[in-house]
């Protein structure tokens, strides 16, 4: 199996997508870890999956529905109890830019 080389651009992109900022040391570690993970996943290529439907669920269950009936009451107290900051009954977060 070929070695996966994770370059700086890939790490940069993952940092943006995951909203993380890594130290130089952490970047090196992440490169090594990701490379190892990809090599591990590569083992699946040893199997012949021709004509096999990709599986997204472990159980053979489909069509689990609810009826359209309101069952929940005012959940604001519970929801807001998780807010690090709140104002006027709402979560308060750093300003989002919409220019």
């Amino acid at each position: 199996m070929s070695e996966h080389v994770i370059d700086d651009d890939t790490i940069d992109n993952i940092e943006i997508l995951a909203k993380l900022s890594l130290t130089d040391e952490e970047r090196l570690q992440a490169k090594a870890d990701l490379s190892e993970m990809l090599s591990y996943i590569d083992r699946l290529n040893e199997l012949d999956t021709q004509g096999v439907e990709p599986m997204s669920h472990v159980f053979k269950v489909s069509n689990v529905f609810r009826e359209d009936v309101v069952t929940n009451g005012d959940g604001s107290a519970d929801t807001l109890s998780n807010a690090p900051a709140r104002k006027d009954g709402m979560y308060q977060v750093p300003r989002t830019f919409e220019e």
Binding site: L17, F65, D68, S76, N82, D88, Y91
Partner: protein, 480 residues
């Protein structure tokens, strides 16, 4: 190349809020305008360990819209997670459908002054709405209300088949009509229950290649859509013709006040959503039974109604257009026509007086609450000359307002025409005695002179006489 030799190519992504009572995956209410965060629970705020369960009615609405737009229904469908971080999205992913959207490959037909045209529907998928962000000036922070988070949406993705703002407006009107006939959405563009992102590119007219497109966001009204399309097409052509540059594929935010757009920051717009199947939601297998149930419930749509109205009632096209523009109005019409047996008169009341009162009161067909029974009774009263046309309008105002019984109301207000021969004769005799000149003129052959006498009788009986009957009686008396 001159500007006129370019054509604009437009495709729409239309988000429509479904009219379910509860959210897509939990039993929280979708009612608009509740106290902030009062319609929330662990599922729609993405708490770890919570388990979403699909609202069957939302699925039915999505399939119903697909059938009405001639789509193929995907019999084995799934939900996927679209991953991104933004405070309006508490799960850090939106549950949507990328790989197996519920409906595909459909079309709708639009009419514009240049004729009829089919607009392709690429797909329709189900997804969740996001929370609402409010900017707090005082603290310069953003406040989040998750009441909309998890409200069911469908996204209707058109093919790039439109060429003008006019076609786009016709397409959206068509979708609005289909959705409201189905009761699948209340479709208010201005209130956000119907929103469209517009993809625009330009190319030399007649070319079969596509230019690079820009996605325009933040368009809140039909008028804004037309302005945005014109503005963006001009910007792209100018860039090509004057700056000799290529159009860059980007998302742009339309500012309708400034009538111009600005590119959104590319970092926010990182189009790497790392979709993957949602492991919490099991697949959907649309059974023959479910499909049959939905087909059974499909209403008669506008085009079918229009054809039938022409055949069954022989109404003019203008009447048909107004009556079928809204399902509720069409239903009131059909019931009133049936009960009164006078379809053209039923149509007149609905397209003249009703429209006028709706306009005055700033109401819509869904606000109408008078019963077809009462309108039918009024139509018959007017037709049988029991009330004058002026009185009929007065009675209708009361029916429109309170759905009162027109007969009882006419009696109470003394609006019934006097068919009592004795009273009419007495009034006619008085008219002749009091207007000797008019009587003499009529006798001398001036037939028009009878008008004054009829007017006197009407006044004498407070407008409650039948003018035709009064005229006949007067003529008889004057001959003697």
């Amino acid at each position: 190349m001159p500007y006129e030799q370019y054509e604009t190519v437009i495709g729409l992504e239309t988000h429509v809020e479904l009219a379910t009572k509860t959210k897509l995956f939990c039993g929280c209410s979708t009612e608009f305008g509740g106290k902030p965060n009062s319609h929330t629970c662990p599922v729609c705020t993405g708490m770890p360990g919570s388990l979403p369960v699909l609202n069957r009615q939302a699925l039915k609405y999505a399939i119903a819209v697909g059938l009405a737009t001639h789509c193929e229904i995907t019999r084995h469908s799934k939900f996927d997670r679209k991953n991104y971080f933004y405070p309006d999205n508490p799960q850090n992913y939106q549950i949507s459908q990328l790989y197996l959207p519920i409906c595909r490959n459909g079309w709708v037909e639009i009419s514009t002054p240049s004729g009829k045209k089919k607009i392709g529907i690429h797909e329709i998928h189900m997804e969740e709405d996001a929370g609402k962000l409010i900017h707090d000036e005082w603290t310069d922070s953003s406040l989040v209300d998750y009441n909309r988070s998890g409200v069911p949406l469908i996204e209707i993705v058109s093919e790039p088949d439109m060429r003008s703002g006019e076609e786009v407006t016709a397409y959206l009107e068509k979708l609005r009509l289909i959705l409201s006939y189905l009761g699948a959405s209340d479709c208010k563009l201005e209130e956000g229950s119907m929103r469209a992102d517009v993809n625009i590119s330009v190319r030399p007219a007649g070319s079969s290649l596509f230019g690079t497109r820009c996605e325009m966001k933040n368009i809140n009204s039909f008028k804004a859509i037309e302005r945005c399309i014109r503005g963006e097409a001009e910007r792209q052509i100018e860039r090509i013709e004057e700056d000799k540059k290529e159009v860059v594929q980007e998302t742009r935010r339309w500012d309708d006040n400034k009538e111009s757009s600005k590119a959104m920051r590319s970092k926010e717009d990182a189009k790497d959503y790392r979709y993957f199947p949602d492991p919490d939601l099991v697949p959907i297998d649309v059974s023959d039974e479910l499909l049959a149930e939905i087909k059974e419930e499909q209403p008669e749509f506008q085009e079918e109604k229009a054809v039938r109205y022409k055949e069954e009632y022989g109404l003019p096209d203008g009447d048909i257009r107004v009556l079928t523009s809204d399902k509720r109005l069409a239903e009131i019409f059909e019931e009133t026509a049936k009960l009164s047996g006078l379809p053209k008169k039923a149509s007149n009341w609905l397209i003249v007086e009703t429209q006028q009162l709706m306009k005055e009161k700033n109401e819509e067909p869904k606000d109408l609450h008078f019963s077809p029974e009462h309108l039918a009774v009024l139509i018959k009263m007017a037709d049988e000359n029991k009330v004058s046309s002026g009185a009929a309008r007065q009675i209708f105002n009361a029916v429109y307002e309170n759905d009162c019984d027109p007969e009882a109301y006419a009696k109470e207000k003394g609006l019934l025409i006097v068919h009592d021969e004795g009273a009419l004769r007495a009034a006619a005799e008085k008219a002749i005695d009091s207007n000797p000149k008019a009587a003499a003129d009529y006798r001398a052959g001036k037939e028009k002179a009878i008008g004054a006498l009829v007017g006197f009788v009407m006044k004498e009986l407070h407008g409650k006489a039948d003018p035709g009957q009064a005229g006949q009686l007067l003529a008889g008396l004057l001959k003697n």
